[in-house]
C-alpha cells in the first residue's frame, strides 16, 4: 500500500522532469553531502513566504516602521512567530550559503563544466548578503539605524566615487527616510527579482551539468579528457528508489522548517529601541556578518581594507574555477591533490571568522579590546 501511494505521488513526469537523464539514484543516495544547496532553496522559500506576510503589516516610513514591528509583535496573529522565523531563517541562510560554498570548494565541484555555476552561485551569495544588509535596517531600530550608518560610511572610502556612492545608497547625506525607502525597495522588489533570475540560471546549470560530480562519476578519481561517465553499477535504480530522493528532500524541508520554527518559538528576534539619531550606542557595530569587515577596517587604512581587500577577494573568488583547471578529485572531499588549495581556503575562512568573533564579542566602546570577562565603561 505504502509503495502504491508513493508511486502515485512521485513516479510521474513532474518529478522526473527535474533531471535531464536518468541519474544513478543509488549513488546519489550515497553521496557524502547534506544537500545544502537545496536547503538554501528551502530557506529562501521560507523567507519569501514569511516576508510576504510581514509585508502586510510593515510601512517603510521612519515614523511607522518601528510601530509596525511592534504591531506585529503584539497585535497581529502569529506576527511574532513570522518575524522571528524570517529573522532566523535569514541568519541560517547566510550560514548555509556560506557552508554550501565551502562544500563546493572542498569537493572541487566548481571545475569544468561547472565554472559558470560557481560564478552564479557566488553572485547569489553576494545577493544574500545584500538582502541581509537591506533587511537589517527595516525595523528602524537603533541597531539597524546605526549599522546602516556604519555601512554607508565604509563605502565612502572608495576612490573618487566614494561619497557619491554613499549618496546613491542613502538617497541623501544621512540615514533617513530615503535610505529606508531604498532599503525596502531593494529588499522586497529588486533583490528578490534578481535572486529569482540568478537562481533560475543556477538551477538550469545544475541540471545541465548533471548534478553532483560524485554521483555522476561514481567515485572514479581520474578522468581523462573526452571520457564519458562510466555506466552505472550496483543495484539498478528502480521506481521505488526515486521516491526516496524526493521524500528525503521533502523531509529535509520539513526539518529546516521545524528548526526555524523551533528557534522562533523559543527566542525572540532581537529588537532594540526605536532609532534615535541623537543617541549613539557605544560601540556601534555592523551586522554580525559584516562586523568582520568592520574589525578589519579598525586596523586603519580604510581604502586598503575597506575597498581594495574585499573587492580583490571577490574577484579572486569568482575566478577560482578559471584558475584551477585540475582534473583530479572532483566530487571528493579533501582530495590530497588539493591540499594547498584547501589549506588556503580554510585559512582565509578562519581569518574571516576570527575577525567576526573579535568584532562581535571582543570589542567594546570606542572599539577597544575587551576580554569577555571585563566590564565595559559607561561613557
Amino acid at each position: 500500500m505504502r509503495t502504491d501511494a508513493r508511486d502515485l505521488l512521485f513516479q510521474n513526469r513532474f518529478w522526473k522532469s527535474f533531471v535531464r537523464k536518468e541519474i544513478p539514484v543509488n549513488q546519489w543516495l550515497r553521496t557524502k553531502i547534506l544537500g545544502l544547496g537545496l536547503i538554501n532553496f528551502y530557506l529562501f522559500v521560507i523567507l519569501t513566504i514569511t516576508g510576504i506576510l510581514l509585508m502586510f503589516y510593515y510601512t517603510p516610513d521612519t515614523e511607522r516602521a518601528y510601530q509596525g514591528i511592534k504591531d506585529l509583535e503584539y497585535v497581529a496573529s502569529f506576527g511574532l512567530i513570522f518575524r522571528n522565523m524570517h529573522r532566523y531563517a535569514a541568519y541560517l541562510m547566510l550560514i548555509s550559503v556560506f557552508l554550501h560554498m565551502s562544500r563546493v570548494f572542498f569537493t572541487a565541484e566548481y571545475r569544468e563544466p561547472r565554472e559558470f555555476n560557481w560564478v552564479t552561485g557566488f553572485v547569489l551569495f553576494l545577493c544574500t548578503a545584500v538582502m541581509a544588509i537591506t533587511g537589517y535596517i527595516l525595523p528602524w531600530d537603533q541597531k539597524g539605524y546605526w549599522a546602516m550608518t556604519i555601512t554607508s560610511n565604509v563605502v565612502t572610502s572608495a576612490p573618487v566615487i566614494g561619497e557619491k556612492l554613499k549618496y546613491l545608497i542613502l538617497g541623501g547625506n544621512e540615514v533617513g527616510q530615503n535610505a529606508l525607502v531604498h532599503a525596502y525597495g531593494m529588499h522586497v522588489k529588486i533583490m528578490p527579482l534578481i535572486i529569482g533570475l540568478v537562481m533560475g540560471v543556477h538551477f538550469w546549470r545544475i541540471r545541465k551539468d548533471d548534478f553532483l560530480a560524485w554521483a555522476v562519476w561514481g567515485g572514479h578519481l581520474d578522468f581523462k579528457e573526452g571520457e564519458t561517465p562510466p555506466a552505472p553499477q550496483g543495484p539498478e535504480q528502480g521506481p521505488s528508489l526515486w521516491q526516496d530522493i524526493i521524500v528525503r528532500e521533502l523531509s529535509k524541508f520539513l526539518l529546516i522548517l521545524a528548526l526555524v520554527m523551533g528557534i522562533s518559538l523559543l527566542f525572540n528576534a532581537p529588537l532594540e529601541e526605536g532609532a534615535n539619531p541623537s543617541v549613539t550606542p557605544s560601540p556601534v557595530k555592523a551586522p554580525w556578518f559584516l562586523v568582520g569587515m568592520q574589525e578589519l577596517l579598525s586596523w586603519g587604512a580604510p581604502f586598503f581594507f575597506g575597498v581594495l581587500v574585499p573587492n580583490v577577494m571577490i574577484v579572486l573568488i569568482i575566478l577560482i574555477p578559471y584558475m584551477d583547471r585540475g582534473r583530479e578529485g572532483i566530487g571528493v572531499w579533501f582530495h590530497p591533490s588539493r591540499r594547498l588549495a584547501n589549506i588556503l581556503f580554510t585559512a582565509v575562512v578562519t581569518v574571516y571568522l576570527g575577525l567576526i568573533i573579535v568584532g562581535q564579542f571582543l570589542r567594546g566602546p570606542g572599539w577597544v579590546f575587551y576580554w569577555p570577562w571585563q566590564s565595559w565603561p559607561i561613557h
Binding site: L92, F267, K285, W288, Q360, F361, I378
Partner: protein, 150 residues
C-alpha cells in the same frame, strides 16, 4: 561519516545562532565585581501610602479642614479641640464609625452638627464641598478606624 558531518554542521549552526542572540546586549555597562548595589545606598522610591486614590483625596481635605479639631489620627485631639465646649468626635473609634452610616456622615458634614442632633460647633461644609469630595472624605475617615492605621 556523512551523518557525523551533517550533525556537526547542524550543531555548529545552532551554536552560532545561540551565541549570536544576546549580541551587543551581553554586557550592559558598568557591572563591576566590586559593586555592592543596594547596600551602598541605592534606594527605590517608596510607595506613598496604602490608601487608594479616593482615600488620598479625602486625606488631602481632612488634613486641611478637619485635622485642626479632630486631630491628625482622628482622636478628637486637634489643637483647637481644647477650646471647644464639647470634644470633637473621635473618628478613630471603630464603634462610633460602625454606628454611623455613610449617609449620616454625609449629612453631618453637609449640614453641620445639628443634622445629627450634635453640637453646632461642627460647622456645615455643604457649600464648600461637593458630594464627590465628601464621599472621598468619608472613605478616608473610615480608614482612620482601621487597625494598623494608614
Amino acid at each position: 561519516m556523512k551523518r557525523y558531518l551533517a550533525l556537526m554542521i547542524l550543531a555548529g549552526v545552532l551554536v552560532l545562532i545561540v551565541l549570536n542572540l544576546p549580541g551587543e546586549g551581553q554586557k550592559p555597562g558598568g557591572e563591576g565585581p566590586e559593586a555592592k548595589g543596594k547596600a551602598a545606598g541605592f534606594s527605590l522610591p517608596r510607595r506613598q501610602t496604602t490608601l487608594t486614590f479616593v482615600e488620598r483625596k479625602g486625606k488631602t481635605l481632612y488634613d486641611f479642614y478637619c485635622v485642626l479639631c479632630h486631630g491628625a489620627t482622628g482622636n478628637g485631639d486637634g489643637f483647637n479641640s481644647f477650646n471647644l465646649t464639647q470634644q470633637p468626635a473621635k473618628l478613630a473609634d471603630p464603634h462610633l464609625l460602625a454606628k454611623l452610616s455613610d449617609a449620616q456622615i454625609m449629612a453631618v458634614v453637609k449640614k453641620g452638627g445639628a443634622a445629627l442632633g450634635l453640637s453646632s460647633q461642627m460647622p456645615s461644609w455643604g457649600s464648600l464641598f461637593k458630594d464627590q469630595d465628601i464621599t472621598s472624605l468619608i472613605a478616608y475617615v473610615r480608614t482612620l478606624s482601621k487597625p494598623g492605621g494608614e
